[in-house]
């Protein structure tokens, strides 16, 4: 490692750390000064825009305009000619294994199992941990995987799934348990496409399981806060009314947690559809574990020159899958605002 680099780069870092807030503050102060020179009436009309301008510019430049650009590009070929739905046709042809269909299928698996897995475990842990005095410690332990990168998560789970040929001592935790406790042959978890219950490929489930492991802390923390928000005397009243603990959960606790479950669920769906890191690091999308985000990356960087047209189409397909959640979120937001 070249340490001389440090000497030149650290000043840059400091310059940015100090400079950026300073520049922005100066901009606001300067803007405020200009606003003060306007007549009273004009001030409240002009001032807000000065405050939001930098943020809005950045957001428009990096999110809004490019998104529109990509949508437009999905209708063009790689030379800028309008080709209508050809790119989409490419991606959606050859059902069930051609085009993007495997990626779409896998995204669906992620959508269902990642979300449900994280919700179910999050709920279970929230409820069970709530009743032990050392709750804070165990919650921290479950929450820790959230601090590490997906790549580190993948390394951890690659190790869990490690495979040695049958008859040799197993180095992967899961295969070790499989062979000693269950007396079965070890499996190549990450490559095995055998469908569980006839439908769900093992390797996809394995990847999803690793991702769920990393995100359960998130859903647990939120669901736990919702759980603790239920007034204690509601539960006492239910007890006096004759309800047993399970009935209380079913008819009082869970219904009251429902709004939070929905919020966590929709956030998890968004994360599931965005899945890239885990798949990229584990399998790069091979062995039929591809997801749309990966597919797009490959179209851009495993091709030379990059296949912008098809990549844009894949991105738009990804957007399409997210739109229902987006609309739902917006509706919820407006409903909450209306009640203010």
């Amino acid at each position: 490692m070249d340490f001389s680099v440090l000497l030149t780069d650290i000043p840059t870092l400091v310059a940015v750390i100090v400079g950026v807030p300073l520049v922005l503050a100066a901009y606001i102060v300067g803007g405020e000064y200009l606003v003060r020179r306007l007549p009273d009436k004009a001030r409240p009309a002009v001032r807000p825009w000065i405050w939001v301008a930098p943020a809005l510019l950045l957001v428009t430049g990096f999110l809004v305009l490019p998104a529109v650009g990509t949508v437009i590009q999905s209708f063009q070929d790689n030379h800028g000619n309008f080709v209508g739905l050809t790119n989409f046709g490419n991606q959606l042809s050859g059902f069930p294994t051609g085009g993007s269909w495997i990626a779409i299928r896998d995204n669906l698996f992620w959508l269902i199992f990642y979300t449900l897995g994280a919700l179910a475990f999050g709920l279970l842990l929230a409820v069970v941990f709530d009743r032990v005095p050392y709750e804070k410690i165990v919650k921290s332990l479950i929450f820790m995987p959230m601090a590490i990168s997906s790549v580190a998560t993948v390394v951890i789970w690659k190790f869990m799934y490690a495979y040695q040929p049958p008859g040799q001592p197993q180095t992967g935790t899961l295969n070790a348990i499989l062979s000693t406790v269950f007396r079965q042959d070890p499996r190549t978890w990450v490559q095995d496409v055998t469908p569980i219950l006839g439908l769900f490929p093992l390797n996809n489930m394995a990847l999803i399981a690793a991702a769920v492991w990393g995100i359960v802390g998130f859903s647990m923390v939120i669901l736990s806060a919702a759980l603790k928000g239920i007034p204690g005397d509601l539960l006492e009243a239910a007890r006096v009314d004759g309800a047993g603990e399970i009935t209380i959960f079913r008819r009082v606790i869970f219904p009251l947690m429902m709004p939070t479950v929905v919020v966590v669920g929709t956030t998890l769906v968004i994360f599931a559809l965005k899945a890239f890191d885990v798949v990229y690091a584990f399998t790069a999308g091979n062995y039929q574990t591809d997801v749309l985000a990966n597919r797009m990356y490959k179209l851009l960087y495993d091709h030379f020159p990059s296949d912008y047209a098809n990549a844009s189409a894949v991105a738009v397909i990804l957007l399409a899958t997210v739109i229902p959640v987006l609309i739902f979120n917006l509706r919820q937001f407006r409903a909450v605002e209306a009640r203010r």
Binding site: F143, V221, D233, L235, V322
Partner: protein, 308 residues
């Protein structure tokens, strides 16, 4: 009041009654369940940690749990080899160079913008805010192609920047800032709105202008929320893989630690000794940040999430 605090009481008056026995048994089962679940969650990480201190030959031939029984053969070689032979050290440094500005820029911009959204009226305010909420769901993939093509057209690439003496990370900083702004504005705006309006009214009567109110009242009161946002954004950027790949690529002199690690995964395959040490090395900084400031991180997550 927690569910547990309101849990059914066990009568302590009579021991060994049927009720007392079922209560105690239920309690034991509960603790077993809690501890097993926690163990199950920590085993993966534990396995990797122990492996990072084992000899390569051992790693290939036996499970990590055997290292917990004699003979105890541990080594630090994996770590030293990782630091000298791989790019992780450089990667760590790059991660700092990337993360810190990528936190400062959006947080400061978001603070100003959120204040306007929370306490100023302007036409289209609610619609724009709604659009920001919508943008939270938009996949980043949708933005890569146009932005990178524009950057290349303008010559705004890491290589060009470096050759004129500027940090190569500027495009990445701006990208992370742009991507992080919707959530940052949403979080801070919610917090600002919850501040009691009498604060502002009494400040107005005292003669304070917008600037004074912002810098001397709102910001000091918002330190917990800003802290949460900083940690959140920091961890998000530090652990990011995709945006870094897209905007600065994978060359060692600019790659953050996540990219270096993923390259190692690709090249090392089944040789776990380097991989395990590298993985843990990459985890140190976020774990330290997380453990020391966990409270704020959790608060950031809870912001706006608990409903009903």
């Amino acid at each position: 009041m927690s569910v547990a605090a309101a849990s059914p009481t066990s009568s302590v008056a009579v021991t060994w009654s049927p009720r007392w026995i079922t209560d105690r048994l239920g309690s034991v089962v509960l603790h077993i369940v809690v501890i097993s679940l926690t163990l199950a969650w920590t085993v993966p990480t534990l396995g990797l940690l122990i492996t990072s201190f084992r000899l390569p030959a051992d790693i290939a031939n036996s499970g990590w749990w055997t290292a917990l029984a004699p003979p105890f053969r541990f080594t630090l070689d994996n770590y030293s080899q990782m630091l000298s032979a791989s790019n992780l050290g450089q990667g760590l440094f790059n991660s700092f160079m990337i993360s810190i500005p990528a936190v400062i820029i959006p947080v400061t911009m978001a603070a100003f913008a959120a204040y306007a959204f929370a306490w100023m009226k302007f036409p289209g305010r609610d619609w724009i805010f709604l659009a920001l909420v919508g943008l939270l769901a938009v996949p980043l993939q949708l933005t890569f192609i146009p932005v990178t093509t524009e950057f290349v057209k303008l010559g705004f690439t890491p290589d060009n920047l470096q050759s004129i003496g500027l940090p190569p990370f500027i495009p990445l900083w701006l990208a992370h800032a742009g991507y992080g702004l919707p959530f940052s504005i949403y979080l801070l705006s919610n917090f600002f709105r919850a501040l009691p309006s009498d604060l502002f009214e009494s400040a107005e009567i005292d003669g304070a202008g917008m600037l004074t109110v912002f810098f001397r009242i709102v910001v000091p009161l918002s330190v917990p929320a800003i802290a949460s946002l900083v940690i959140f954004q920091f961890l998000w950027v530090w652990n990011d893989l995709l945006v870094a790949l897209i905007y600065v690529g994978g060359t060692p002199n600019v790659a953050p630690v996540t990219v270096s690690l993923v390259n190692l995964v690709g090249s090392e395959g089944q040789n776990y000794q380097l991989l395990t040490a590298a993985a843990f090395f990459s985890m140190i900084v976020p774990l330290v940040v997380f453990l020391s400031l966990q409270r704020y991180f959790v608060r950031g997550i809870l912001a706006g999430s608990v409903k009903g």
